[in-house]
């Protein structure tokens, strides 16, 4: 028999039992809807998290700090060590930082300026290193000869968002506990709002030239080294190469943001697969529904099958007729399910996005500006195709048993069936 004819017979047979067919199809629709909506929401959530992490980290910047969990704290880095890192292949740029955590800053009216950390840097290096973030809102980043200057993070200057504690051109007094240092610095620039909650959020930091710090402290050691790699994908290799620079590689820690991000991405991917797997259970239930209905249908049509075989239909023609019915249910259910799945994704995204907003907490450690979380479903053609094919496969698997049962019917017995 021609396939087009089998198809039209199967279609006719389905449309003649409308209620039964639509209920069977509904099972598939629900299964596919669940898969599509969970997959697309999972994908959307994953991409949102990924994007936020990219905003929070410079993905091409490694952060090297002395000490590690494996070894005890070690001395800060020396200049030769920094220079060794500069020579590692894959390293594009190195910016060592000296942190002066004991430093207190006071403005001209002797109010305390709340910088959590005062760091000494080479301004030209750090500007290149964090070109997108280390940008002044007011003033100008000091040049190499401009010592005794200070650059303030946004929040150190605008504590309550209204009146600035300091302006560009003002003088700031820096006192360092235990060193009896009392130094006056000129405010050269105020940095713009960093906006995100990553490691390189400098809103609560203040920066002074490295030369000024080494003069004051009378030694040249660095607490943090920022390393920019030429290719972020090679971050791990570069990190390993940097570890090898040191006599005891376990005495330092290197933060590799891209590795961290990959790990989070991997976890979210697993979560997404897990969600889809749960949704797939409903499709299996739909498959059992198909098997159930088709078995009944084969019994009802036993005589019809007997007639077809008696007048010369081959077993495989009968098999094809019933299997085609199952596949049609899968195709129609799958297509409707994809559409309703898209619809449900948007509805769920709308409802859920009001529940997942981050709580605003008033501690200084909390990111000052937490963006609204947006949850948009992302429809990947892969997931759509996978879901659709899965629906058809389920229908074939569960339709096969009743279809084989029909095909194997003995014509004489089938004709005798009442």
């Amino acid at each position: 028999m021609k396939f087009s004819k089998i198809l039209s017979i199967a279609w006719e047979s389905l449309t003649q039992r409308k209620l039964r067919t639509s209920l069977t199809t509904l099972g598939v629709v629900i299964g596919i809807t669940a898969i599509i909506s969970l997959a697309s929401l999972g994908e959307g959530f994953r991409l949102e998290i990924k994007e936020r992490m990219q905003q929070g980290f410079e993905l091409d910047v490694l952060i090297v700090i002395p000490g590690s969990f494996a070894a005890a704290l070690r001395e800060p880095f020396t200049s030769p060590e920094v220079n060794n890192i500069r020579n590692v292949t894959g390293v594009k740029l190195v910016a060592p930082l000296i942190t002066l955590p004991q430093a207190d800053l006071y403005n001209e009216t002797n109010e305390k300026v709340n910088a959590l950390t005062v760091a000494a840097v080479n301004f030209s290096e750090i500007t290149q290193m964090l070109s997108e973030r280390f940008v002044p809102m007011e003033g100008k980043i000091p040049g190499p000869e401009e010592n005794d200057t200070i650059v303030l993070g946004y929040k150190t200057c605008f504590w309550n968002e209204t009146t600035p504690l300091v302006r560009v051109g003002d003088n700031i007094t820096m006192q360092i506990e235990g060193y009896s240092i009392n130094k006056t610095l000129r405010v050269a620039a105020i940095l713009g709002k960093s906006g995100t909650s990553g490691i390189t959020n400098f809103d609560y930091w203040a920066f002074i030239p490295a030369d000024t710090a080494t003069q004051l402290m009378r030694r040249e050691v660095y607490n943090i080294i920022l390393v920019k790699v030429s290719d972020p994908e090679q971050s791990e290799h570069v990190a390993n190469a940097i570890e090898d620079v040191f006599e005891n590689p376990y005495s330092i820690s290197i933060l590799v943001p891209i590795a961290f991000m990959r790990q989070v991405d991997r976890i979210l991917n697993l979560v997404q697969i897990f969600l889809v797997a749960i949704a797939s259970i409903s499709l299996l239930v739909a498959g059992i529904g198909i098997m159930n209905i088709m078995t009944v249908s084969v019994m009802e049509r036993t005589r019809e099958i007997g007639i077809l075989k008696a007048i010369g239909a081959k077993s495989r023609t009968v098999l094809a007729m019933f299997l085609t019915e199952a596949v049609l249910v899968g195709i129609v259910g799958g297509l409707i399910g994809i559409i309703t799945g898209y619809g449900l994704s948007y509805a769920l995204a709308y409802v859920l996005s009001s529940f997942i907003q981050p709580q605003q907490q008033d501690t200084v450690f909390q990111a000052p500006e937490t963006q609204r979380m947006t949850l948009n479903p992302v429809f990947s053609p892969e997931w759509t195709i996978i879901a659709f094919v899965f629906a058809i496969i389920v229908c074939i698997i569960f339709g096969l048993y009743p279809a084989r049962k029909a095909a194997k019917l003995d014509p004489v017995e089938a004709l005798r069936y009442e």
Binding site: K2, Q16, L308, A310, I311, G312, K314, T317, D410, P411
Partner: protein, 232 residues
Amino acid sequence: MATFLEVRDVKKSYRMGKFLVPALRGVSFDVETGEFLSIFGPSGSGKSTLLHLMGGLDRPDEGEIIVDGSNILKLNDDKLAELRLIKIGFVFQFFNLLPRLTALRNVELPLTIAGVPEKESLKRAEKMLRLVGLEDRMNHRPSELSGGEQQRVAIARALISNPKIVLGDEPTGNLDTKTGWEIVQLMKKLNEEKKQTFVVVTHDPHIAEAANRIVHLKDGLIAGIEEAPKGR
């Protein structure tokens, strides 16, 4: 006359629960090309079983059935289906039409299975329905037709592929005497006009009367073969 179908020492039993019930216990006879043969016997004599075996719907336990040169024991299920499709036409006691299809579509069905294009198959089905006198009933479903009309549709379906042999399993068994007689006359007419071989199983003496030869079957054995007088 050439032999079209040979039945050689055929035995067939059915399992009824624990027991094996013999239906045919060694039956042999030939069917000649173009003849109208009747297999006559009381119910339970094994005549329907014999017809099913002759039509390739079932296989004998022992013995051979050779249809137009091919031994049905040696054919696989697909080949057997092909044989039924091309060379054999069936007419049943309970008509066995598909209730969902119109008379026209029922008649067309064997051609559809054979993969004949719809345009041609519909034309042939129409012609065949006209031949059995149902030109104004083509688009009726079986439930809208009388018993005699349904059997005419079934005969048209049996003849649509132009088979060499038509097997009737009590074709008049479910019809009143008058309608039954008309159906017998129709079959006889087709047998004479189209030179198709007819084998009709019956316990109706009227049908038996129309046949060229009557095979009497009793308790799974041939009780006798009766030649009809010439000229009938």
